[in-house]
Symmetry: C2
Subunit: 527 residues, 2 copies
């Protein structure tokens, strides 16, 4: 076959896939292909309306698709090679799944007759996919490819966002008989009854002290605005998960308070309320169990109302609730909106606080922060809250190695916006290959690497679990300092301009410069 | 808890795990731990008899465990963090599984009561493990940890080598009541009946032209010697898979001919025989299906005898067969043994042939080659066959990103032997984090990076599938040259001395120097 246009009868499965992708509006594919995906590659490379981005590791592809989809609100595709390819992408699919990001995996498989023969790359791809995908389908024939792709799109957009995986045996892509699939109608979101809305509204207007916990669509656009009105009208306090898909933040927006998964703090915060209404997420729980503490972080005496799950119409709930409490659109919310707060830059040793100040000062409006700053960088957060309006994307599933790929995907999705990746060094190592794609695609990404040269979160955990008596203060298994990672060299090795600094004044100067021009940069911030 | 010795009643599950590992002889653990494995880390860090090696990505840990186990003939352990950790290690577990390498995964999981609560790192770990492991068990209580570990060891050594995965809920590691498990008796290998051995011997001595296809234990030690005697006595031709766990090669050893998974060549080679006897592997098949070719690579007219599978006593089969054909130990095999063949070094443009000559000349006796040289480096193979005795380890499952981790593990297993990693650049990117562990552990590894800056195997496939008409000769999705990866910088960024060269004379000089001293080195061979 060649990649050119052909008549319908001649259309290969691969060509029908591309046609269906375009019909559904899937316009980006983050790819790490192999021999079983050759015909998909041939179709992709002759179709400029779908942006193909080569990733040198599949965890980059899935994380980038997640970042793209978060910013676009519709799925990007990945192109993965057999079981190993999907496995390499699994960890960032986990993050996307927890984020409820719509995402479509196109995974090549051996031809139908070849699969039982046990060739070296044969594996349990279907079982693997089932362990992470919300929906998996194995295409049977080339004539099914288009319809299956349309279904994958529909499923990815269902229930608030899902991981849809379409497994394509190689012969279904090279055989003719392909038919472009028609986009399917969206599956309607589950609606919350007006009786339940009224019940929640009654709690909110009862004079009791009410906290609302949410995430996902409530933190952007219409959902965020409805939440703001509800809080302004009723005095309810708005909380969100610690880890959220996308949050519109900064001056002119209400600050949602993130609940920590680290226990005591969350219990103390929530103890000040009579009621906790949960919308679009689950009960607050510890990130990890602890021998001495309850896993569920709801203080005694707090009444919990589970109003909606992540699969329900979360935005609709808040819009309905804002009406029910008498806070319709155009209500006055001014008092709750964050004011632009400027901080003086500092000099001296480099800290997350110092970095936060520089970000606050120099970040351009509409920037997108991909935040995997970890223990070393968390100190930026209170300071960046008062910056000019921006978006911030979090490590939703706790599976480290998401920040760089998400930055790549967000930059492809929003080429006119500056992307800042606040990145912990240990986490960055899982998917550092993203730097190469960032360089190749000339993405406007500035990476701030918080180099504390240890698994800081595990050091913190040691204390929390009361583990002592180990031979070294930093156990070898948590220590990244021997040898030190040289991030500027790693960046340059993949075509990204690299800088290193260990004073605030150097950081300030370099960061200001990065904000003032376009293109990929990495600052190794040794803290 | 502290890591010190405690009486039996006080022993934690984690401590009982370590005690059982030592009782079974598991003396290396390639680790990438998290909070759910803290107590296992504490136990490991206070026990010097188990070598703990920190890996900055789990695919490095599983690949290194594979390399270690291949050289030791007994399992190393990995220590992995929850579902994402196991997923990141999956691809190299696939390679280990195809190699039939005994390997034990210790995977931390949320505490038993915490798992149903949906904390952010909750996932279908059991389903994931089932998709790759030969044996999976979830430990129920701290008092079971020791016995479960002993069973994991037994299962890893069963059926010729298996992937055994023990999932350890965090509370089973921190709770006391641990009991060191007693090593279990090995599960006996399935024996092939003497009637079947006699039948095969009859074929071998019938005067018909016989090919034998094998892999695994037949390529080392006793198995290799028996194969050599059979070939010398009967004139049978010994073939092995293209991708093998470990092969003893070089002067003084018989050369097994590797069968390619690329079709036509294999059919032509096998057409010269009347019989094909298969021992310890499957039918030769194409690596990937092709629209126009049969997947099974057995020419018409060749009689196939499946004598033993990889789960049977493969070494025992060859020893019995050598007796049955009248070729007992001490038979004369001299005529079949490879002679030391020296090649002149060349100058000029750098090629795989030129590199093979330098390896042939300078490689020290007993070196271990971790071969993931791919399309760019395959040219070394005919030349290194005549080198002094060495071992060569292959990319057994075709899942790329194995060469560097296997080199790490082999170097830890055999600290007195030089390890040479012949590495394709595209493949290296999947697990380049191995370089950091190689530097930290001061491994005696020289990496030769064959930088052709493309997915060469996919370029070859394009031709084989007759795909043409794409906009660029090297499609963007196969092209690693924009920007070029700078491997010397990537190496130095992780603490490994890096060199770059693009002429044979430069390579010869640098490689000779690397062979003459110890320690980690990377040569970016731009071909």
């Amino acid at each position: 076959m060649s990649g050119g246009n052909q008549t319908r009868g001649d259309m290969t499965g691969a060509q029908s896939l591309l046609g269906t992708m375009m019909a559904c509006g899937v316009d980006a594919c983050f790819a790490n292909p192999g021999t079983s995906e050759l015909h998909l590659v041939a179709a992709l490379q002759t179709e400029e309306r779908v942006r193909s981005v080569l990733c040198l590791f599949e965890g980059v592809a899935t994380g980038a698709a997640d970042g793209y989809s978060r910013m676009k609100g519709k799925p990007a595709a990945t192109l993965l090679h057999l079981g190993p390819g999907m496995a390499n992408g699994w960890a960032n699919l986990h993050n996307a799944k927890k984020a409820k990001t719509p995402l479509i995996n196109l995974v090549g498989e051996h031809a139908t007759w070849h699969l039982p023969l046990g060739a070296s790359l044969t594996s349990d791809l279907e079982g693997l996919s089932a362990s992470i995908s919300d929906w998996t389908k194995v295409t049977k024939t080339s004539s099914d490819v288009g319809a299956d792709m349309a279904e994958a799109y529909q499923k990815s957009m269902a229930k608030g966002g899902q991981i849809a995986t379409l497994i394509l045996p190689a012969n279904t892509t090279w055989e003719t008989g392909g038919v472009v699939g028609s986009p399917l109608p969206p599956e309607p979101l589950n609606q919350i009854s007006s009786a339940e809305i009224e019940k929640a509204a009654a709690i909110l207007t009862s004079g009791r002290r009410v906290a609302i916990l949410t995430t996902g669509p409530s933190l952007v656009g219409e959902g965020r605005e409805a939440c703001t009105r509800i809080a302004a009208k009723t005095g309810a306090k708005m909380f969100c998960n610690g880890l959220n898909r996308q949050m519109e933040r900064g001056a002119g927006r209400m600050e949602f308070t993130r609940l920590s998964g680290w226990g005591q703090v969350t219990l103390e915060v929530l103890a000040k309320f009579d009621d906790l209404i949960i919308v679009g997420t689950g009960l607050p729980v510890l990130s990890f169990a602890h021998p001495e503490f309850e896993s569920v972080l709801v203080p005694e005496g707090v009444e919990v109302t589970k109003l909606a799950s992540a699969e329900d119409d979360v935005t609709g709930v808040f819009v309905a609730l804002s009406d029910a409490v008498g806070a319709p659109a155009e209500s006055d919310v001014e008092k709750l909106l964050t004011k632009r707060t400027e901080y003086d830059l500092v000099t001296g040793p480099l800290t997350a606080d110092a970095i936060g100040r520089a970000i606050n000062k120099f970040m351009p409006e509409g920037a997108i922060i991909s935040d995997e700053s970890g223990t070393g960088g968390a100190g930026h957060y209170p300071i960046t809250g008062g910056a000019i309006p921006h978006d911030i994307l979090f490590l939703t599933g706790g599976s480290i190695g998401q920040g760089l790929p998400v930055a790549l995907g967000a930059a492809i999705a929003c080429p006119d916006r500056k992307v800042i990746n606040l990145q912990a060094d240990g986490s960055a190592m899982y998917t550092l290959q993203a730097l190469w794609s960032i360089a190749r695609e000339k993405c406007d990404v500035t990476v701030v690497m918080f180099s504390n040269r240890q698994y800081g979160i595990l050091m913190r955990s040691l204390g929390q679990y009361g583990i002592s008596g180990l031979p070294n203060r930093v156990p070898d298994l948590f220590d990244l300092s021997n040898p030190d990672l040289q991030w500027a060299k790693l960046a340059e090795g993949m075509g990204v301009e690299g800088h290193t600094c260990d004073t605030a004044e150097d950081f300030n100067r370099i960061f200001e410069d990065c904000m003032g021009r376009k293109g990929p940069q990495l600052i190794d911030a040794v803290i």
